[in-house]
Symmetry: C2
Subunit: 220 residues, 2 copies
């Protein structure tokens, strides 16, 4: 069976979100790189995959998808097993808690952490744009308020949705991983429950595989 | 059986998202109003429901949820029937297309349309803040690009995920409904497929019920 295809550089945070899910369920995949400088993501071939001309896109036979979180749900559903049931759609309450904390990532955590990653990492290293310290400072203040809530939640639960790892946790990986390479990584030291949760996630075999995939992409 | 509870004013767009789903599946519910001026949404009782102190929150017996899109998924799963299967989780491909366009609403459509609604409707009528025309103009430019993609998509499909109505469509209701009361409603006239799709959605009985619920809330 041909492996599924993921379109977009493995170094992209939104692509990494998909790769982590593929690793978690043990699915074979192929990354099809996109040359941004050649505007390959705006080519007719890619616009047929994603009419907004963004990455990642995804192909599994005649199923062509975009939007990283939607691709992840497809992957986690298709390759679901007793060992890897990360959406828990068979259990009404568990599935709801997975959804709640997946939405919190998208609408509350991501808007607070991603500007720090852009300002401290992507802008200076990839786009030659200097860090806007005011944006960083304001975002860190927002992030602290979010982490206060996470700290309390993770005092009573090993993972965000409950005492089981889920898509809600995995969703946090790409941007948190990037944040940890910025000068503000030590912020997490003030939140011991969050830090312990993060270390539990980082110890998962799927994260080692992601590191290897990203390293291979860096050399390519 | 006690009806489920939705916490937050029915007039809120994010509460309306939940109410539309409850109407679609024919579930009984009770709206528990929250007094924002009395900061009821920041009370210990409400923070126990939603640690971020926002609305809506939701209760079904011992299941307590927040984040409107997560609450909707719970409602659509719990009350799923042959007539109302709006997530299509039993079909891998259909479910994926529902998820893709649900994510498009959250990450592309919403960021373009919601500033227009805030600037032209919420800010002047609810908060006494004058409309920032520059924000409106920039957001309308973004929205036009989004509607170009929707227009093409809806040329080949009756609804966003395919030829069946789904959660992806319903998700667009609250902010589009509010947008249609602004001076920019006629923008949709330039997109005949989008306009026809919108009229199909507005003709659904769930929308009539929402109108009645909002009217009752306005009088309360």
């Amino acid at each position: 069976m041909a492996p599924v295809k993921v379109f977009g550089p493995a170094l992209s945070t939104n692509v990494a979100r998909v790769l982590v899910c593929l690793h978690e369920v043990g699915a074979e995949y192929e990354v099809v790189n996109m040359d941004f400088q050649a505007k390959e993501h705006k080519s007719p071939e890619h616009l047929a995959r994603n009419p907004f001309g963004q990455i990642p896109a995804f192909q599994d036979g005649d199923v062509v998808l975009f939007e990283s979180r939607a691709i992840c749900r497809y992957v986690l559903r298709k390759y679901k097993s007793a060992e890897a049931d990360l959406l828990r759609e068979g259990d009404l309450k568990d599935a709801a808690m997975v959804d709640v904390w997946t939405e919190v990532e998208a609408h509350t955590y991501h808007p607070a952490i991603s500007p720090v990653v852009y300002e401290c990492l992507f802008n200076p290293t990839m786009f030659g744009v200097p860090t806007n310290e005011k944006v960083v400072e304001e975002s860190l203040e927002k992030l602290k308020k979010v982490l206060d809530v996470y700290e309390a939640r993770l005092a009573d639960h090993e993972y965000l949705a409950g005492d089981f790892v889920s898509f809600a946790d995995l969703n946090h990986l790409p941007y948190t991983f990037a944040f940890m390479t910025t000068p503000h990584a030590s912020l997490f030291d003030s939140y011991p429950n969050v830090k312990a949760w993060w270390e539990r996630l980082m110890a998962r075999p799927s994260m080692n595989k992601l590191g290897a995939a990203v390293a291979a992409a860096s050399k390519a």
